[in-house]
């Protein structure tokens, strides 16, 4: 009897210990696993998508906003009529039927995305068919109220390698981190019908929407610049062209336009080479527009005075090469102002010679050539300057009139800005204010990079440039009684070690009004066919834009 009792006692003890151990296993060892399994059954975890920041022009008008969009997905195993569904989707989405049918026929697939970023119209159109096995996930996409305006500046939003929205090129690329924001998460207990249980567990990490960018771009100025440039490119049969306008005293970019361009809303329909912004990527030889900088340098160094005379009597020989004037005309004894007015290459060789080799390179470097301007756009590039020990006599001579040196349009206009604003090299910038979702604002202030020229020097060169406009090749284009300082440029295109005599890049750089410049503008045209000269192609575009700007800003004649 005692033995049987002991057996029962031991059995109970064993069962008790087993239960305790099992409970220990469930409640301690497997606690996290079971808790997570239980939460999976009752808790729903949702991602709260952050809204991408918007982009506004200087007057607060939207340039890029968000609009509702949808991801269309299919669950092939739920489909009832594959043929009909394929035909309907192919018609609405403008995709070949065979391509969709192949995807829908693969019943091994549980969930397949068919099209992303569908707009409201297509969403409604597909929805009305009430197809089984078809579903939508709501997201958003970019909307550009001004269509393709300022496309190179804005960039676009595409998908990265992990399928997440990412900004590419321009501002979208440069400020991607700021614009993107941070997605939030919501964990909520739900009942069988999917309604939240208020007394249950709710965990929320709120989404932080992307920051809004407020630009220095004036949309009216941008509109004028783009229209006039487009007209000019068509009129002069050019391959392409660019216009960039800066505010001389701050370096703020007022407009930046280039053609050929693209529509950021449907960027994938355009060749990828159109995505790059020529103003900050394409290097060209500035030609005669560079003369104003060399002239400023020599006057700033006090190596010559404005009234010094040069005898322009014919071609000159430098390092075994013959240098001529652009039109083969020689004017005898001329002063520095006339050298600019006649755009004399031989005169500039004389001026460059007076400056000296070391100061010449020093000024080029200090004016920012060979380095990035650090404008707040993603893809900026810069040609390197030739190493100092590779500069020969002929290189100094040709560089004095803008050949043999490569610059981007933005580098060029920024350098000439020093003449317009009393000698300061400004950092060009496009975003003047960043505002976060809570309304906190970060102001971005103008930045002076260096002081290059004395105001006395820039005043003299500005007057020389005004003289070049009034008395030079562009005198018939200048609106009467307006004081505009400017300089034409025509550069041949170097191909395989020599210059192509038929292809040129023409340009005009100038600012107005001379005494208190409101804007500085550079117009470049690539390979115009109507005329190879800057005075007959780029200059008219410059003056057409300038005239509209005078009216727009209410600038009175001097």
């Amino acid at each position: 009897m005692e033995r049987r009792l002991r057996f029962v006692f031991n059995l109970f003890c064993f069962l008790f210990i087993t239960v305790i151990l099992r409970l220990f296993f469930w409640q301690v060892t497997s606690f996290d696993k079971l808790k997570s399994a239980a939460e999976k059954q009752t808790l729903t975890s949702l991602t709260i998508a952050a809204k991408r920041g918007r982009i506004f022009s200087s007057d607060g008008s939207p340039l890029v906003i968000n609009q509702p969009a949808y991801l269309l997905f299919v669950e092939p195993y739920k489909l009832k009529d594959i043929e009909n569904t394929s035909t309907i989707l192919a018609n609405v989405l403008d995709i070949p039927v065979a391509s969709i049918a192949a995807t829908l026929s693969d019943t091994k697939l549980r969930w397949v995305p068919i099209a992303d970023k569908l707009d409201e119209k297509k969403f409604e159109e597909i929805k009305k068919y009430n197809l089984t096995g078809i579903g939508f996930l709501e997201n958003s996409k970019r909307y550009y109220p001004e269509s393709s305006m300022a496309a190179h500046l804005l960039g676009f939003v595409g998908k990265n390698s992990t399928g997440i929205d990412q900004g590419y090129f321009g501002l979208e690329g440069y400020y991607d981190e700021q614009l993107r924001g941070r997605d939030g998460r919501l964990k909520i207990e739900e009942d069988a019908l999917g309604n939240p249980i208020l007394s249950g567990k709710i965990e929320e990490i709120p989404a932080e929407n992307g920051r809004d960018l407020y630009l220095t771009i004036d949309k009216t100025v941008q509109f004028i610049a783009e229209n006039k440039l487009k007209e000019g490119i068509e009129k002069y049969g050019a391959k392409g062209g660019s216009v960039v306008l800066l505010e001389p005293y701050t370096g703020a970019v007022l407009a930046m336009a280039s053609f050929p361009s693209y529509d950021p809303g449907v960027f994938s329909s355009f060749p990828t080479e159109y995505y790059k912004n020529p103003v900050i990527v394409s290097s060209y030889e500035p030609g005669s527009t560079f003369k104003v900088l060399v002239m400023s340098a020599v006057l700033n160094e006090g190596k010559v005075t404005p009234d010094v005379k040069y005898n322009e009597e014919g071609p000159i020989e430098v390092g075994g090469y013959i240098i001529r004037t652009w039109n083969q005309k020689y004017h005898g004894e001329i002063d520095l102002a006339k050298i600019l007015e006649y755009s004399s290459n031989v005169g500039m060789v004389f001026v460059g010679g007076k400056l000296g080799h070391a100061p010449f390179i020093n000024y080029i470097e200090r004016l920012g050539f060979g380095n990035l301007t650090e404008v707040d756009l993603e893809e900026e590039t810069s040609s390197s300057l030739r190493p100092k020990n590779k500069w020969y006599e002929i290189d100094y001579a040709t560089a004095s009139f803008g050949q043999g040196i490569a610059v981007t349009p933005l580098q060029m206009v920024r350098a000439v800005t020093t003449i317009a604003n009393g000698g300061k090299l400004m950092r060009p910038y496009l975003v003047k204010k960043i505002r976060d979702s809570k309304g906190k604002e970060i102001e971005i202030l103008p930045k002076t990079e260096a002081k290059i020229f004395k105001p006395e020097t820039t005043n003299v060169v500005a007057e020389m440039m005004a003289g070049a406009v009034n008395n030079g090749e562009t005198r018939f284009l200048n609106p009467s009684r307006y004081r505009i300082a400017g300089k034409t440029g025509t550069a041949q295109i170097p191909i395989s070690g020599h210059y192509d005599t038929n292809k040129t890049i023409t340009s005009f750089v100038g600012f107005a009004p001379v005494d208190a410049p409101k804007f500085i503008m550079l117009v470049t045209l690539s390979e115009p066919t109507a005329s190879p000269w800057g005075s007959e192609t780029a200059a008219p575009i410059f003056f057409n834009i300038a005239k509209e700007l005078f009216s727009y800003w209410g600038i009175s004649p001097s």
Binding site: S61, Y143, P145, N195, K219, T220, K547
Partner: protein, 95 residues
């Protein structure tokens, strides 16, 4: 049983009843909350669509197009109300 114990027992019972009542009322509030959240989402979506339409209607491209269609043209001449200085006083030879 002391009065204090009686008080605590009654208090616990009352709280338990309240809990049941509140939980009961909350059990249907989830559906209401869900409905409200859906409404907010729909309003936000409509707001985005309206913002888009306003932006499109007020864009400079649209305004310019409508102005051209209405027959408005850009003034090609600059009209100034200021009187130019006589040449002798302007001090500039370029005028």
């Amino acid at each position: 049983m002391s009065k204090i114990n009686l008080f605590f027992i009654t208090f616990i019972i009352v709280l338990s009843i309240f809990q049941v009542i509140i939980f009961n009322s909350n059990s249907t509030a989830g559906a209401n909350l869900s409905k409200l959240l859906n409404e907010i989402e729909a309003i936000e979506k409509n707001n985005d669509i309206i913002n888009r339409e306003i932006a499109r209607a007020s864009s400079i491209a649209t305004i310019s197009e409508k102005a051209s269609a209405s027959g408005l043209i850009t003034n090609q001449h600059i009209v100034s109300l200021t009187v130019p200085l006589p040449l002798a006083l302007s001090g500039r030879s370029s005028l």
